[in-house]
Symmetry: C2
Subunit: 579 residues, 2 copies
């Protein structure tokens, strides 16, 4: 082999050159006495022509055989405009079969109808499909672009431990039994949060890491057993200074990877505004249909549902979809279902036509209310109103979910359109129905807003944090915060979260200790790399941008991991399987 | 805060500028009515001068307090040539104490006498020492330089699974119990070997990854529970093509990180030559004292030790150290001890003086043999000969160990001198005394040399492999090989290694399957990043180039990991601790 070119790089200007190529047989066909082969490598496909004398030697050659060929580049008579190399072909003078191939269980082409488990079982073949190769190549371009920005801005990549301490907070840990310390376990990191803060205490000032993180949670389309976090932390910077750098990084990324100019600074919405307008703390603002508050209209309503809601301090909100009056009873049922799944007690749907509203709830509304709706919402014929009345957060969440579903249905979530924004001023705490107590909204190291610190003693639900998320197309790309750097404040937050002295000591003792030796003001954020790669490569699942992902059952259909192991291994680790 | 400069960057040209700085108090001293503070940040130190009016407010400020100051840059009267900023100081006009600090348990300066466990327990303070910060900064420069080379040469970084299948081959696996699949376990990767080969089968052609790898082995100065491997694989390239690229990468690295021009191509020694000349497969050729074969001289020896050795097919080799005759009896005993620890039955030590040799073995040698030694080895007065007679490999190993120890003692292993070389043509198999069978020298996927394939059926000890190590200063920086790409040959190697059909299926089934669908010729290597960083930063231990390392007991003195966990966690994982 003395490969002179990559197959996809050959062009008209190479005509008459002697070339040596290698690659896989993508297609073989006979045309009269001639044999044509499309030879594929990572760069693309080139058409080879073999004359009659070679047809016997080519007899057994099939798709996915590995060939090495030498020959001369010729101009094609009938160019193929669909192919980068479509204007040329290579007249083969010599060839060698480097390796054979059985018939592949899935076809190596961009289009496939193979089941996902088959694709994952034969992932090395699935990844041969150019569309899949290009996704991983794009992922690499993304990491390269982000790294370059960080490197050029004085950030230092530092690797933090993979075998850490289990601190059951948030998600479940993956545990690793210790051979040397019987009965003890390491935990795989859920994130390098404590370590990156310790690196700020150590004085590194600007840190980053492309960190593998692990959470033993049930898997979904955009969840895996482990994921890659672009973890960033800085010292001595304000929230806006951090956000501005991240915007610069995203502008560079979008230009380099997608060839798209996006504008910075990004839109900044407070959490409250995001919820009020989009019903989501990760709003997709590629389309409108914003939530509108109509509580005022119904302040004297005789409709019991609305009246009870307002009496209980709730709100009434609506989204209005234009030209939507062809909606069927069945569709309305489905949206009602979706609303209920998101916690609504019900969903009011009304159609506007000829200055009147129709729908099963119409009978509970007064003429004045109908008129007020028309005026306030500037209703037009064929508009459809979806109305929810409940506590503020529930009302927002339900209408946000409906808005997303309708935006998707109407084709308004365009994969090639990219809208970035920040959501800021998150609440510090949120009420957990499950645990019946307040929990940290972001994490317990988040800095409350200075002006809200007095509220820690009086009304913690009102305390806002210096916490921010970066959103792209309705996905949370990343999130971060300024961190507490005052030891007393940190201990107070732990207390509010209901942690005992002993629990704090046990979980975070070394961390609390570190805070006493000159902690700088610091803050940062973390991006979900898999998600960025998924969105930019316009994929439907993060599995498409991971070389060897697990399936939804946390299993690798290729290697079959996890598997039973040799009992001697467990013996050495001082554990046994519970019957 | 509105930081205008980094402390270490201020120079004469900044005189009269208004600056705002932040950082840690490195030193505070009074001089008459004035207070001087050295303020440290990541970039270095700058001297601050506070006038009398501020001394009361500074009263409590101690080392490691975090300050923010604003003031004017002045030229110093008596410049400090040891400091980059030694020609200037900053006259402080305003300052603020951002955070306080307790007295640190270790002094924040390059020199430290703190015990390593104390340094690891307060690692965030240990890493504040500029010498330690600079090591991690250098590590980052190394990764950046290597990545840049790989990125610019069409390599694609691809992340491979962290939760894989346990294949107990080589080192012990770290296991991770599965919550979803009771009784099953994932294994943390010992290396991405199978995955990188699968990526070649998938057609990526050039892959790299800075991969975290795990081996549950007992720790030493240059071992950790996990380490970072610069993992590289290529398709369609020859051994020399791969090596040439790696040399280019190293030339670039040494220039960028150390400012040193090194020459490529590197010296290439076959395994046999490396063993014969240096007694090591990772020779340190920064100094001479090569091994010399003197078997021929003793072919008729009456010295029973030499005679028996030769009769049993062994060899007699020596290293000659000049100007070494001041060696004491006690030192000779220590070298003999070292020889025995490396498997020698004994060590012959002779001193040359006035055409005669002295030493306890002299009496067993004939005059002719003494003369032949003088002639062959060109002996001079004060030379000392260390002679070992044993089977070839043992003789080489023992003298290699002595040579290294003596080179170290004589100060010939200069930390600021860098000598790269390749060792090639490794044997395919080696005899394992422990397992009483042949094992793979590199790993079972290594390609035997084409001309040696017939020997697989007749004399496997003689089979050489297309395997190569890259050596720097006596350390193996990395190693690799061309891989088998023929399915039948791979199965044959597994058989030779004593693996049953079932065992092969069980461990490598999916891998063997993959080989049937058009595997390209491929090969690569892997570098130990920690080791590269250790050598280039002139450190004694890899712990110095890892932010938060484990101690020799596989424990983190800071977080105390591994620790006992909540029984409920084990319950969920379907395991229990064995009593």
């Amino acid at each position: 082999m003395n490969r002179t070119h990559h197959n996809g790089d050959l062009r008209l200007e190479n005509v008459n050159e002697h070339v040596e190529l290698v690659g896989w047989v993508a297609k073989k066909r006979n045309f009269g006495q001639l044999v044509f082969i499309d030879l594929r490598d990572r760069s693309g496909i080139c058409q080879l022509v073999f004359d009659e004398s070679m047809s016997e030697a080519l007899k057994d050659v099939r798709n996915e055989y590995v060939l090495s060929v030498s020959g001369t580049v010729l101009q094609r008579k009938d160019a193929n405009p669909d192919l980068k190399t479509g204007e040329i072909e290579v007249k083969v003078e010599k060839f060698e079969i480097i390796n054979k191939a059985k018939t592949t269980p899935l076809i190596i082409s961009d289009e496939t109808d193979a089941l996902e488990d088959t694709r994952l079982q034969y992932r090395y073949l699935d990844l041969r499909r150019p569309v899949m190769q290009n996704k991983l190549i794009m992922r690499h371009k993304i990491t390269r672009s982000m790294r370059e920005y960080l490197d050029n801005n004085d950030f230092i990549e530092i690797e933090t431990p993979m075998l850490g301490k289990s601190t059951p907070e948030g998600a479940r840990d993956y545990l690793v039994p210790s051979r040397v310390h019987p009965g003890s376990f390491y935990a795989l990191p859920q994130s390098p949060q404590l370590y990156k803060q310790l690196l700020m205490i150590a004085g590194f000032e600007r840190y980053y890491q492309f960190a593998r993180c692990f959470r033993d949670e049930d898997l979904r389309a955009d969840r895996q057993t482990d994921f890659t976090q672009v973890d960033i932390e800085t010292s001595f910077l304000s929230e806006v200074e951090i956000q501005t750098m991240m915007e610069e990084m995203m502008v560079k990324l979008m230009k380099e990877v997608k060839g798209i100019d996006i504008q910075a600074p990004f839109l900044r919405l407070s959490y409250e505004e995001a919820m009020n307008r989009y019903g989501s703390d990760k709003p997709d603002n590629r389309f409108g249909y914003e939530l509108q508050d109509i509580t005022e209209i119904f302040k004297n309503s005789e409709f019991k549902v609305f009246k009870d809601c307002i009496d209980n301090g709730g709100v009434i909100k609506t989204i209005v979809i234009d030209n939507f009056s062809s909606i069927t009873r069945k569709e309305i049922d489905k949206y009602t279902e979706l609303a209920k799944k998101n916690g609504a007690k019900g969903l009011v749907v009304l159609k506007a036509q000829d200055n009147e509203l129709t729908g099963s709830a119409r009978k509970f509304l007064s003429e004045d209310e109908v008129k007020a709706l028309y005026d306030t919402l500037s209703l037009k014929d064929k508009d459809v109103l979806f109305i929810v009345s409940d506590q503020w957060i529930k009302t927002c969440n339900v209408l946000g979910a409906l808005r997303n579903e309708i935006g998707y249905k109407l084709g308004l979530k365009k994969k090639d359109e990219f809208s970035f924004l920040w959501v800021t001023d998150f609440p510090m705490f949120e009420w957990s129905e499950e645990q019946q107590r307040y929990v940290a909204c972001h994490h317990p190291f988040t800095q409350p807003k200075e002006e809200d610190i007095p509220l820690l003693d009086t009304d913690i639900a009102k305390v806002k944090a210096n916490a921010y998320d970066i959103i792209l197309n309705g996905y949370e790309l990343g999130g971060g915060s300024l961190r507490i750097y005052d030891n007393d404040l940190q201990e107070k937050i732990f207390e509010i979260l209901g942690m005992s002295e002993e629990e704090i000591r046990n979980k975070f003792g070394f961390f609390i200790d570190a805070f006493q030796y000159g902690t700088p003001p610091h803050g940062g954020l973390a991006f979900g790399l898999d998600r960025i790669a998924m969105i930019l490569s316009e994929s439907d699942s993060i599995r498409d941008v991971i070389a060897f992902p697990k399936n939804a059952n946390a299993k690798c259909p290729m290697s079959k991991a996890p598997t039973p192991v040799d009992p001697a291994q467990l013996e050495e680790l001082h554990i046994e399987i519970k019957k």
